[in-house]
Every structure is written in structure tokens, then in C-alpha cells.
Amino acid sequence: MGEVRKRLPLQCPACDSPLRVGRLFCEQCDTEVCGNFELPLLARLTEKEQLFIVDFIKSSGSLKDMAKNMGVSYPTVRNILDDLIDKLNKIE
């Protein structure tokens, strides 16, 4: 049995509201921090969107290179990026 890869839930399963951080702990010494923290901006994106941003940085911000690596057209990559910018603006 392989280890189950858990994804960070971003929305409340009951009411779809964005989730916040309530508890953090240290794996080494079991120290716990409780509170009410907001997730960082990029952590509030989906896994696919986060991967896109990582690829974007790795390609030095070249959409042409990204399109080549992803095997899609230039406007397709630009549209994903523009939609992501819109989403980030809305979250902010």
C-alpha cells in the first residue's frame, strides 16, 4: 500500500467558505501553536495553479518557453496566467 498523498483543503466542505489555519505543530518536539491565521496567498490557489506558478518561475517568466514545455499554444498559456492574475486580485 503506497502512502496516501493528502491535499491541503482550501474550502469548508460544509459551506464552501475559505478555510483558515487554526493549529500548527512541530513534528520534532510536539509544540503546538493555536490561533486564527490566514493561509498565505499562494497557498489559497489549487495545486494545479501552484504548479503553473512554479513552472512560470522556472521558465524565468517566459510564456513562450512555458508553452513549448507544456505542449500548448502561447495564447493558451497567457490565458491561464491572466485568469490566475484575476483570481489573485479577487482573493486580495
Partner: protein, 195 residues
Amino acid sequence: MKRQWLNFLINPFEWIAGFQALGWGLLGMVVSTVISYLSGWHYHGLLHFGPAPNPAWWCYAVEHLVVWMVPATLFYLGGLILSRSRIRVIDVLGTVAFAQIPFIFMNLFNMLPPMQNLAKVDMNVPPTELLAQPGFLVGVWLSLIGVIFLVWVLVWMFKALKVSCNLKGYSLGILYCVAVFGGDILCRYLIGLCY
């Protein structure tokens, strides 16, 4: 693999745009112009086709150029106004040219003898006489099959606008209708100057 091909047939612009699309689109346009010249079927507009009084080769070339450039220009101008993305003219020209490749198949249908006969049919006779003319019904059925390729072109043009200008919702629908139906009227006027 099969699914990817199906996706490509529905929206090729996810994978192809810019100069690559323009190259294939222009090649398709040349082939389409030659077939139209051989069959004698003219483009009267973006959505209207049939015989015309000018048989010169350049007339067919101009028709194809107009049918490509008019909607592409309207897409680009509309995109500049409505889109929040920085759109590239090469993407609009390329995707629209590529979207018109299925016209080749429609033009091939127009080369078939029943379609050639249909062009010669006198449409000013009563319906009963019209139906009695040889090959009329076959020609009508073949025309309907040809419409499938026209619909294919229109679907690809919709996808071309969506991808090249990054539009969604009402702005996409409205601009598309204005560019296609308004473009058809403009094309008919411009092409009419050749006759």
C-alpha cells in the same frame, strides 16, 4: 490519444496558434482558392456561397482574403476593447485562418457534378418544375452535407476568438455574433465590388 484528437477537432487552438496556425491557414486558403476556381463556386460572404459573374482567378483569391481578413479584423478590434489580456494580432490572424481550413471539404463537395448542376438550375421556375429538374434533390442533399463543414468553421472561429482574445461569457458571445453576422454583411459588400 483518441480523446486528445477529439479535443483537437473541437478546439485546435489550445495547441496551435500564432505563426504556425497562420502558416497552415494560408496553405489551406491557397488550396481552397484553387478548388473554388476549379469548381466555379464563389464566396459571396462569410456565410453565403454560389455562382458569380466574375470567373477570373483573382476574384476567388480576393474572396478568400476578404472572408479571412474581415472577421479577423473585427475579432481583433473587439478583443482590444473587451479583453483584459494583451492580445497579439498574429494569434487572431493565425487562428482565424486555421479555423477556415474545413472550407476545403465544403469546396470539394462543390466540385461534385450534382453541385455543378445545381449552380445551373433556374431558380425562377415553380417549385414542382424545380424539383423535376435532373439532380436537383441530390444537389440539395449535398449542399446540406456541405453545411456541416460551414458549421465546423463557425465552431472553430468561435474557439479562435475565445483563445486568441481570452474572452468569456456575454462579451465573447456578443463579439462573435457581431463579427460573424456583421462580418458577413461587410464581406458581401466588399466582394460585391469584384463583380
